[in-house]
Amino acid sequence: MKTIMIILGLFITTTLLQAGVEIKTFDSQEQELRYKKVIGELRCLVCQNQNLSGSDADLAKDLRKQVYKMIRNGQSNKDITEYMVARYGDFVLYRPQFKATTFLLWIGPFIILAIGLFVLIRFIRLRKKNITTALTDSDKEKLKQLLDDNKVQSK
């Protein structure tokens, strides 16, 4: 019983520890929406598959603070992403920019799709051709014979 109480107690303390909510006030709803959008599109570099808004890492908190400060200063989303890219590189963006080093990332899937379609169409055409040219003269003769046999039988 005592151990259960201790375990329960631990649960309660850890949930209390997690309950820290960041209170951020904005001048307008537009700013708040912008803040949410930006921290949703920036990657947390410590826990790489989370964005800034979803991460509890120390660095993520600092970067959220930075984004907040920049938004309160009236800086645009572009200013903020440029600020982050200058420091952490393109990797910080969940939606990479379209440029020489990233074009393959963007259009690669479409290239592969095009190759797939091309192969598929060729395959279908080839098969059609095979079917139409499949009957040689001897084949046709055989077929005729079979059909004739069939007629005789059904009579």
Partner: protein
């Protein structure tokens, strides 16, 4: 080549690509600072809080900026390597004490040794953001013109020192 082999070939190519992917460390990111001027800052020294340090004081010298903290476990693993480095090679090593308490940082250095010419306190971690720090410890090498030439994320080991850091420091020393 028989058509039946085609899927096998495609599969092998895929395996090769995935295999290459496995050998890469996703935590090692290309730093946007390489080849660019070291970000400026002015911060108080850890041991003499009334004095400040800023990177432009190091112009004309090759120097190393090592980001560390007393709370950082891998810094402790890295620390003996830095202690050895300064014994074997003449290097201007500056420590950036990142998001730490001054008292903790001082205690840590007196316990594990202080290889730094000077450490600066970045208590808020804002300079860390300017330098793109995301995984302490991090090590930067800056050349005589104040350009960042190398960034190493994570603890530096003896092999890194031997094969990467000392050769680069020697090369940069010879640059004008």
């Amino acid at each position: 080549m028989s058509r039946a082999l085609l899927p096998l070939v495609a599969f092998i190519i895929l395996v090769i690509f995935l295999g290459i992917g496995l050998t890469k460390d996703p935590r090692k990111l290309p730093s946007p600072f390489i080849g660019k001027a070291a970000p400026a800052f002015t911060l108080p020294l850890l041991h003499q809080a009334d004095k400040t340090f800023s990177p432009n004081m190091m112009l004309g010298k090759v120097w190393v900026l090592n980001v560390w903290a007393s709370w950082c476990v891998s810094c402790r693993a890295e620390h003996p390597v830095l202690n050895e480095l300064i014994k074997s090679f003449k290097v201007n090593l500056i420590g950036l004490n990142y998001k730490d308490e001054v008292a903790d940082a001082k205690r840590w250095l007196s316990r594990y040794g202080d290889p730094y010419q000077a450490s600066v306190s970045d208590i808020e971690g804002l300079v860390g953001i300017d330098w793109g720090v995301y995984g302490v410890p991090e090590t930067f090498i800056i050349d005589k013109k104040g350009i960042v030439r190398l960034k190493h994320t994570g603890p530096v080991n003896n092999k890194d020192v031997r094969e990467e850091i000392i050769p680069l420091l020697k090369k940069l020393e010879n640059e004008s």
